[in-house]
């Protein structure tokens, strides 16, 4: 059993007004020295069965067609092993 994590971020050239609003709030909260904030989305997919090449290819398709809008967003797919004891 494994968890697959899909991270979705706005492309670098796309303005991120939410990230900017967070960044501008930081000095007020006493956090100095952070020059930029970009806000994105993280999806954790619990996969039944083995995460083999075919499963990853399907998740890649899912991310490309649904989880991310590739007009404005980039995504990455990575596998995270879930320890049996943690279940």
């Amino acid at each position: 059993m494994a968890r697959v994590v899909v991270d979705v971020m706005l492309k670098p050239e796309i303005l991120d007004p939410q990230g900017q609003a967070v960044q501008r709030a930081l000095p007020r909260l006493g956090f100095e020295g952070i020059s930029d904030v970009r806000q994105g989305k993280r999806f954790e997919l619990e996969v039944d069965g083995p995460v083999d090449e075919a499963a990853l290819a399907r998740i890649h398709d899912l991310a490309e067609s649904f989880l991310a809008n590739t007009v404005i967003e980039d995504f990455s797919v990575k596998v995270e092993e879930v320890a049996e004891a943690a279940k």
Binding site: I14, L15, P17, Q18, A21, F66, L67, N69, V71, I72
Partner: protein
């Protein structure tokens, strides 16, 4: 015989009844379509109306785009069925790649609701022939994610092909690139815009003008003359 124009209701649609009313006022027959419908009940055109389908979860329009009704709609839109997307409907059409670009959160991060001045740039689409090119109109705008973006190549192509259908005038309310308020596909049968023509069809309410009505009379004329 008049034209039958479908209006799709998704979970979270808000303006389906107003849109049906606008269609009726223009003299056509509105047909209620449901997001689970597997066919379009032989309508002559479809309007995807405003609202917050699926709560804008994931991205505005991203989940509605995969509704059962979208399958026949995509197929028939590509074959020439006239489709108008208003606000959330426009977002659904971009998510479905029937129209280029997409919408981001308004640049100022606030929901906006105002009477907006627009210029009709293209009066040759299925939904705009009752306007004249360059005509200035006032119709309401109300949204959270209205900032139109596309890459520079796409924007240049849209401009060159006359596919920027509407532009914001005097004031850009959401940071949209090149003041774009609405676009059309190449064939001119699929049109999307963020402002709401269906809220400007009676002098008694809204802007006090009927600047939105020509959307619905344009399509009626087109369908009845065919």
């Amino acid at each position: 015989m008049t034209a039958r124009i479908g209006v799709v209701t998704f979970p979270g649609s808000l303006d389906d009844r107003d849109t049906q009313r606008a269609i009726r006022l223009a003299g056509a027959e509105p047909v209620a379509l449901w997001h689970k419908d597997k066919n379009l009940h032989q309508v002559d055109a479809v309007v995807l109306c405003g609202g917050f389908s699926y709560g804008d979860y994931l991205r505005a329009g991203a989940i509605a785009r995969f509704s059962p009704v979208m399958e026949p709609l995509l197929e028939q839109a590509k074959a020439g069925l006239p489709v108008l997307g208003i606000c959330n409907g426009f977002q659904i059409l971009t998510e479905a790649h029937l129209l280029p670009g997409t919408m981001l959160r308004n640049d100022h991060l606030h929901f906006i609701c105002r009477d907006q001045k627009l210029r009709v740039e293209n009066a040759e689409t299925s939904w705009t022939t009752d306007y004249t090119a360059g005509q200035e109109i006032h119709i309401p705008l109300k949204n959270n994610d209205g900032q139109y973006v596309a890459d520079a190549y796409t924007l240049d192509q849209l401009e060159a092909e006359g596919r920027v259908a509407f532009r914001y005038l005097d004031f850009n309310p959401n940071g949209s690139q090149r003041d774009i308020a609405g676009v059309t596909n190449e064939a001119g049968n699929v049109v999307g815009l963020m402002p709401h023509p269906e809220h400007a069809v009676e002098p008694l309410i809204g802007t006090g003008r009927t600047d939105g009505l020509p959307f619905f009379t344009s399509i009626l004329k087109k369908l009845v003359n065919v």
